[in-house]
Symmetry: C2
Subunit: 343 residues, 2 copies
Amino acid sequence: MARLITLLMQAAVVAVGALTGVSVAAGHGPLTIDAQGSFFVGGHDVKSDVLSTIPNFAPEGTISVDQVYVHYQIPSGSRKAIPLVLVHGCCLTAKSWETTPDGRMGWDEFFLREGHPVYLIDQAWRGRSGGSPVPINEVKIGNARPDTLPAYISAGRESAWEIFRFGPKYPTAFPNMAFPLQAQSEFWKQMVPDWSYSMGTPNPTVPALSELARKIGRAVIISHSQSGIYPFQTAEMDPTGIAGIVSIEPGSCPRPDVDMRPLKGIPTLILFGDFVQLSTAWTRRLDDCKAFVKAASAAGVPVELVQLPDVGIHGNSHMMMLDSNSLVVAGWLNRWIANKVGS
Amino acid sequence: MARLITLLMQAAVVAVGALTGVSVAAGHGPLTIDAQGSFFVGGHDVKSDVLSTIPNFAPEGTISVDQVYVHYQIPSGSRKAIPLVLVHGCCLTAKSWETTPDGRMGWDEFFLREGHPVYLIDQAWRGRSGGSPVPINEVKIGNARPDTLPAYISAGRESAWEIFRFGPKYPTAFPNMAFPLQAQSEFWKQMVPDWSYSMGTPNPTVPALSELARKIGRAVIISHSQSGIYPFQTAEMDPTGIAGIVSIEPGSCPRPDVDMRPLKGIPTLILFGDFVQLSTAWTRRLDDCKAFVKAASAAGVPVELVQLPDVGIHGNSHMMMLDSNSLVVAGWLNRWIANKVGS
């Protein structure tokens, strides 16, 4: 039965791909890589005398914080498509862009097979980007009050269900919603606790992204949800190296009265999935983004807002990179990038 | 000058490789991958009513903890070498096995180019393997006393310097020590805070490794430092799928009176670097491992302990996978695996 469902889903992907004229990267056959590896951007030193509360490690010392881990792969071949930087959202890591919970190819590999150098990051203080135990240890040893502990939160699946628009209320799904719910237990494992709500604005990931963009030279920054606004903040800091912005269902768009000048030369897409009108929170965010797009367009920014159902792609949740039609969405996006940013 | 040092180091790597008869994988030319991706092993659900202390997220809900993130690459080609599972040590993530701080190829790519499927994990509650904010939030909201906060520690570079045997005391290095200290600021960025000292024995990474070994079917588990003992604990749980054990400078070896039966069919290597005799802590650990090896050998376990200087490889710190001669060490290890475990 599970196998039959998988086959039906694959057929549906191909069918939708045919309908929308999107070429779906095969995902079959070997992948040839010219270079791969990892490095850090950003970060600075912090000294403390409460790094440790156990005898194995000294309490005094210096650590690095606010750095951002970057993993990259550069494909072989003559097609040299533009580099992409993929930035995950709240309570997640770069795992968002890899193998889907039901075992299909992630966007990382799809775009690689389409010729793009792909850069995946873990946001500062999350995943492989280390943080600091100091605010916790100050409380543990009595130097600070318990209420000074940072906001350190996990999104439980019951509340994430609504935020991710799997359905109106856990565990009920929207009809024809495309997230592979049969694999949800694998999906919940990719969620991690999140410090970012006690980290100030902009998040330290933003200057690190700016350093990365300047290092790559010319890249499209693709952000999602919590990180949706980061590419805009990065461009505001320094537009160098930012060839395009794709903000997928941003938690917030820039305000309409923001300085639009740094964005003027940057092709920008704000992309929403399906079922937005069934969520009060997402309807409000969509409206805010529409207000930004209107103001930005008037100021000469090449920006557009697309809701996937309007281009014939249906059923997408907030986690569109993992939905059963994830490669249809990626194919559409790849075409947008080729048309609007070029190669 | 930095460029000259790099060139001299590269020349030294080639020279040492020639001396020890080790083939150093070229690391040049494209890499062809049959499959790559990521998934989780282990993990279980936890319900709580203190997941969040901010209005954006509900305090009540269910999260998954103790799961272990696994990233894999399977090389193309006719040589089908045995799969390797690489397990990092304290205060680190799988980044340990990737690009070195000075930008050379990591062990992950070296072994891939030698034909091994390579599996990298982030230990439970670290990196992309999510933990729980509950013990912190219980204190923040006044449900628990500050001294119940978990031991959550960072190793400052000053104390890590001695543990990693870069030298006798920060910032003095041992003469001819091979860690690329000119790139140390990049290295310190890969260190992360570590919950594991409040997580009990065995660490939840161990049952997850057992699940992974059974899933792969036949693999060599390569552990390091804090995780040094994990493959032994995994085999004790169930030897299925464990084709070999390589424990690099374990923080502790099994006790000599442990039940040796699960280890009997498993070729095992315990590997130490250089300068051990200059560190009291490491001399003690080496002695403990020698006692284990003696008892295990007497019980018929195919185990050996090797100190790299005794096989003509000199200068290695505790972070031998990142030292300037890291690929010489990897080449020697690759030959040990081929000879003792087979393909």
